[in-house]
Amino acid sequence: MADGPVTIQVRDVTNQFGSHVVHQHLDLDVYKGEILGVVGGSGSGKSVLLRTIVGLQQPASGTVRMGDLMVFPPAGSERQTQRRFGVLFQRGALFSSLTVLENICLPLIEHAGLTRAQAEHLARVKLAMAGLPIKSADQYPASLSGGMVKRAALARALALDPEILFLDEPTAGLDPIGAGAFDDLIVTLRNALGLTVFLVTHDLDTLYTICDRVAVLSQKKVLVADTLPVVETCDDPWVHDYFHGPRGRSARRAAHVSTE
């Protein structure tokens, strides 16, 4: 996978809030069609990196390119960019005044120019693909459980069949069965649609089962970005603790068992 064309190119990015520097001279490449897992300690700026790439956070310096589109410094219309990627925010960020179905319909109506009936028809299948029961379609986000909010948000992110999918801790707060199904869904969609997936996660099972490459954020930059066996052998103490702690070991064992 790692030899496909570069879809996301982050070069020399510096992000800071006041005097607090989050990223310094950060470089990262994401290749087309891969699932890149991004890990790092709390506060290492994983979500900030995601926000920088999608254009929600303007870096202090550096360049961010997505395909042939410059995200920063900005060039081209914003509307154009929004069709090309879907974002699953950490807490779902469903529009609370719309039902689940209307949430998914919104991008279809606004960007793909479908009628309401057509959009609802497509949205129902997206909903089912994300694993939500059909009766949740007319519920408001406030009455959904945390896992259902995640699924509804994924359905909305997938509504436009984007090229790149950004997932901010998609399996956090899901039960293990639900998280496993979520992982399978992401792999299926990636294989079928040729999606590129940028996945911020703490879920070691997700890392071991679906990620093609893993990028470790530490010391204000991407410490290492490579396949898991390479990352595991990185001699940084944090990386060592992360992958060789009890959770890391059991996740790796589980992944090996399931592939054999």
Binding site: S97, Q118, L122, I134, P141, A142, L193
Partner: protein, 388 residues
Amino acid sequence: MLTSPLNPATRPPALHYTTTPAARTLVLTGQWTLDYFNELLRCLNAERASATPLPDTIDFSELDAIDTAGAQLLHDWLGIRLDLVLSQEPLGLAPERQALLKAVIQAASTLPDADSHERKPRPFTEILGRIGSALEQTWHQVRDLLGFMGVTCEALGRTLFRPSTWRVTAVFAQLEQTAFNAVPIIAMLTFMVGAVVAFLGATILAGFGASIYTINLVTFSFLREFAVLLTAILMAGRTASAFTAQLGSMKGNEEIDALRMTGLDPVNLLVLPRIIALLIALPLLTFVGMVSGILGGMLVCAVSLDISPTMFMSIFQRDIQLRHFVIGMVKAPVFAYLIAIIGCLEGFKVKGSAQSLGEHTTSAVVQSIFVVILVDAVAAMFFMEMGW
């Protein structure tokens, strides 16, 4: 076989058939994606209209791209036949596209066949239904309000004799918000209304040669009614809405639940300081309103009626008894209590969404203004009948 197109990325979706004695094969070409949704729909509708029999198998080798939208439309058309075709390993279908089609089929098959529509009630029944539900809602609101009054009184009673549980800092913080920061707007508003009342009085009373009574009109109306009513209405708009928004967003953020779990009583911690602060604030602001309203009247008297402020003050002192001031003032704490309690109660009713927060904030303002005016009208009649 067709030669390859100019640019596969822009080839619109299409389909045709190739027939051999053994089987009819459907050949899909072009982009079966969301970008070409309308073309795709037209193409498939034409196919449905022509009522050609469904194909035996499908050739996917000329398909440039397919996404979930395209897959879904294909499934809408072919239905169960698509399942059958996929199980026979159709031509040119890459495994990842097969996985996509299967995922879409599986998702679509969990949906009910047709979108079932509920039967709409008739207009007349609906009107009756709405009246009924509005009445029921009002009744619930009144009951909730009375219940909440009881809860707050109970909480007040419990903390009153235990000074260690008093939230003095919170009360002062609220007092700054509700009283101190509201002084300029209250003073300005009542000053202008005072001036307007004086102008009206001057114009009307001049016809009777009694323009000196403008003084009595302004002072009487401001002491008894206008200062307290204007202040209360302004507080209803300014403070009740703030209380609802504060408590509502805390509720949405589960902060209220977190307080309960910490063993703290949200009524004691959040509601009582607000009620007490407003109980102090509204009388003070009413006094500010009285003073600046009368000052407004005094200014107009001095400018347009040539009644000097000294003259104004001496007539004010001679004609207006203290009881008018007292009657105006006693209403202030009652209004304050009602406004605070409605604002807090609506905040607790918020259900986590932005929509709900907006609805309850509006409701808090409307309810508190309504209740303030209602109570003021009843009180005015009572005081007049009593001859106070």
